[in-house]
Symmetry: D2
Subunit: 201 residues, 4 copies
Amino acid sequence: VNSIDKLTEIFSRFPGIGPRQAKRFVYFLLHRQGVSEELIKAIEDLKHEVSQCDKCLRFFTKNGSPGTLCKICADPSRDGSLLMIVPRDVDLESVEKSGGYRGLYFVLGGSLPILADEPERRIRIRELKERLKAEGQHIKEIILAMNANSEGENTADFLREEIKRAAPHIKTSLLGRGLSTGAELEYADPETLKSALLNRS
Amino acid sequence: VNSIDKLTEIFSRFPGIGPRQAKRFVYFLLHRQGVSEELIKAIEDLKHEVSQCDKCLRFFTKNGSPGTLCKICADPSRDGSLLMIVPRDVDLESVEKSGGYRGLYFVLGGSLPILADEPERRIRIRELKERLKAEGQHIKEIILAMNANSEGENTADFLREEIKRAAPHIKTSLLGRGLSTGAELEYADPETLKSALLNRS
Amino acid sequence: VNSIDKLTEIFSRFPGIGPRQAKRFVYFLLHRQGVSEELIKAIEDLKHEVSQCDKCLRFFTKNGSPGTLCKICADPSRDGSLLMIVPRDVDLESVEKSGGYRGLYFVLGGSLPILADEPERRIRIRELKERLKAEGQHIKEIILAMNANSEGENTADFLREEIKRAAPHIKTSLLGRGLSTGAELEYADPETLKSALLNRS
Amino acid sequence: VNSIDKLTEIFSRFPGIGPRQAKRFVYFLLHRQGVSEELIKAIEDLKHEVSQCDKCLRFFTKNGSPGTLCKICADPSRDGSLLMIVPRDVDLESVEKSGGYRGLYFVLGGSLPILADEPERRIRIRELKERLKAEGQHIKEIILAMNANSEGENTADFLREEIKRAAPHIKTSLLGRGLSTGAELEYADPETLKSALLNRS
């Protein structure tokens, strides 16, 4: 395999990238030697500057500080009695950007398709149980912030059972359903409309 | 104008139909004489069998009954203390299909763009006030069930003011915001996430 | 079935229209009584003013003239030695609009999927043979103007055989392949590129 | 700027990639340490193994051979009297894959928008003239293989003038226009239909 084809193959493993766009990436790099250098440097920096938070398991940039906790987990002003479980790092960022949440997080690392075998290979359920063992006594509520689809519901069901067993005193909750920004009544499904009606204010 | 062009022009006034698809409709009718006959008959039947409900102003099929009220408005088991204002007939059908609502309706006939002149030409605000005058004393809550966009919010703001003036004892409410079915955290906007967090359960 | 549902069902038979848009058409007509009247009148006019041309079998508006031939077939200045077979009326209009053709037409009424049974039920092959019998001696070339896909190629193959048998002196030709307006080399398929290379000028 | 943001910014310069997908690429690399290593190695290999052909200016993998010409330019069986000018490397690959061309190439490095200043900064016009000076006496025809849009036509017009001035004995040609694979008559523009009619065969 020559190096154009090799690099094309690697880019086509990137999320959402097919072979044609991967090839275009390669020519883009061939035409812009400078970008190749920047790209290599940034990937190497990423390796050195980013670590995974010991508590929430998200990736974060260390910025020279020697700590093993991300800024959120290290912030004493966050509400430690509230834990939100999100599927992935980007979901955490999305919630954080909304500005409406002051508790702590746990990044599950994915979600659980219906009838999936070996959940511990797909999501960080072992790590979650360890966290509950270590600091479960401080937690009052866990928000199961999953995507509003069947995989998200299945994951929430699984987590609820596991939490009930591991830390029965903790209340679990789900994000509220209703009309998303931009939603139109005509196209809204019955489930969404029912919740929107219940949650009216 | 010949009749092919004339019919094409009429079809291209239909919602979502451009001149090319309109022309295709005409050739469809030319090839299927039977459909033309059926279509004319169904349009004429529509005129005779459908009337507009005196109370909620939706269109409904009379089915031979001489009444001037639709099935919902004529149903004594519906909760008359609850009124939902929806933009259009299809929105009413959508809510009705969800099965979660047992009150009455009012079809506004549209919504109000921001800074729109002469609201009474765009929405049935006069008709709404008449209804409030006639039976406002029985109504405890009006749900402003608008689309979750800026036009919907503008319409809700306008209606809230008008209702406060016309019937100050009636509480107004909005449909709950949150994650619609299928929504993913990563793509949810801050407003939706904040509401989903507040409405968690 | 009530008349709203009946009309919805008829509109959903229209090409490219699903039940939701069909329903929207019905409410559009309910809100605009005037359009219903216009629509019925235009459909009735269509029936009276449009006939099918005896020669090319396209639909055309008579405009009061008693003839049974469309304007093109009745035009003595068109080149009768050249016949173009097109799948449908809209294709004829498309070629006519291009202004590059001065011969006559035959509208096939469709095209022939691969391995289709009973071609005479799908395309006007009987009518074509009758036309060749009646005036084949004046025709020098038949252009098989089919869509550039496998169904079009299959139809052209079928027609070529039939014409060879019915009128062996007539030459058949295909529309030239090459880059369509807007085509980009990167996305062009090998077949198109080869033809574009052969037809370079 | 932290390294997550920096790498996101670099990926969002890639063709067709917005900030959201760029961020997803970064998390993809964070989760798959192995891919980062492979990626860095492949980019470095690319730099060492790929050079730009001295004649056609395309990028090619050297495969250990010390030559400065790509496989096509070094192939004595290719027809040196025929030169095809293509906008970019991928266009050359597309034509080569079609298997219908046996001449040589020149990669222009882009195309010329209408009214663009300083063409020599956008396309390799200087390099083209040098090539014509060096070996123009062997070339009989130059195929201006541009995309079938206004930018492509503008580029062809510009090149035709430049070639006429630099090497007046060389004939220039354009790729044939006509129906691309998959094209339908109904949607074909007049220009395409006219060419398809002229190029019929």
